[in-house]
Symmetry: C2
Subunit: 249 residues, 2 copies
Amino acid sequence: MSTSPQNTRPGTKSGPVAQPLKVVHHKFLAGCRYVRLLLGEYGQGADYIEEKYWQRRPELLSLNPAGSLPIIVENAADPVVGAIVIGEYIDETRGALMREKRLMPENPHTRAEVRRLVEWFLDKMEDEVVGYLSNERVFKILKSVKEGGGSPDGAILRAGRANLKNHLRYISHLAATRNWLAGTRISHADMAGAAAISLLDYLGEITWSDEPALKEWYARMKSRPSFRPLLSDKIISLAPVSHYIDLDF
Amino acid sequence: MSTSPQNTRPGTKSGPVAQPLKVVHHKFLAGCRYVRLLLGEYGQGADYIEEKYWQRRPELLSLNPAGSLPIIVENAADPVVGAIVIGEYIDETRGALMREKRLMPENPHTRAEVRRLVEWFLDKMEDEVVGYLSNERVFKILKSVKEGGGSPDGAILRAGRANLKNHLRYISHLAATRNWLAGTRISHADMAGAAAISLLDYLGEITWSDEPALKEWYARMKSRPSFRPLLSDKIISLAPVSHYIDLDF
């Protein structure tokens, strides 16, 4: 039994040559935040490499021909690509060690409900809300003019905010009627929801006084150790709202 | 051990009161075709109910608040929603009985590759190609003017066809370098690919003489018994290309 520090990472090959997990990501993408939360929950350390994915560098396309993030690479094996796919992979390779703290349920119907909501947050809400607002308010600051940077488009912001109202109504309904978003136990669905909501919160897009049930759920999520790294994320030219890092917001 | 006919459906509750699986779908959505192919492969009969999902009937929204298809309902349990989620559910409830014919591999890395491609076909290719072409060429015929029906928009068709070229290049590369799309064994990835390609083929959008490797793979898919129901799909006012039902196209 080696006592090298690498062995504190469950699931990697044991022994002194085990390589840490490499995560290619961007801090301001919900899918990437989902993977960071999951790795934190599953006790898996990683080397995080931030990628300006919109530049579509050949190195990125060789890992993922779709050019999207996140991507993880483990032990020089083929990359595992896409937030939802990575979530399944993490559970399949680490879930058994988690026992009762596992974030995927056993029952196929309950698993389907968790997956429905993970897709809701990372596909549907991304397409209708988070993608619009983060593109206009974050990525247009990070991009050069040549890359599509510039001022936010008011019409797109309005569309995203109108859609956000409908989404908040639905998520608040889930938070008000269930202990955790997918049911009685915390799951990948809560991680996906928190990933998306945390970006909107950074941008001050959520009026918490209007959403008491959602706020109570989000406060629980925010106080988890896995959440801490997200609270220190910052863009120099765009500070978060004042309550972003506050656990009693 | 009962010998009632219901027991030929693996995975449902045994005994004479077992209810057949109910599938709410539309013939001309790739995600729905994916589920039909999977159910065929896994030997699962079903009652198919076609839904004009764009009408967003309350009955549909009560099954799936997103209003999207496909949806399956089994034994009066909660609905299972979304093509990718249903694919996981079918494998989790029927896969073990399939033994070596199972369409999901065991290894987590290989599973990740299958899932990457299923997402590619049902999310990315849907967004960039299949959704554009089927909306303009199929659903605008099926919808009333009030529902958004009418003539296809030439600019959208051109965008979808331009994207299709890039997708065909990638899928042909997979078909040329691998036995099946995700590797050595047939998998959910082939079902998702065939679901998307079959819609484009119905519409005559693929020039098969330009894609020999893809054609060879698609001919293998088309000759599978699970594929037969798809070949009899028809819209009265839009006949398929002449080779659509032909196994030697």
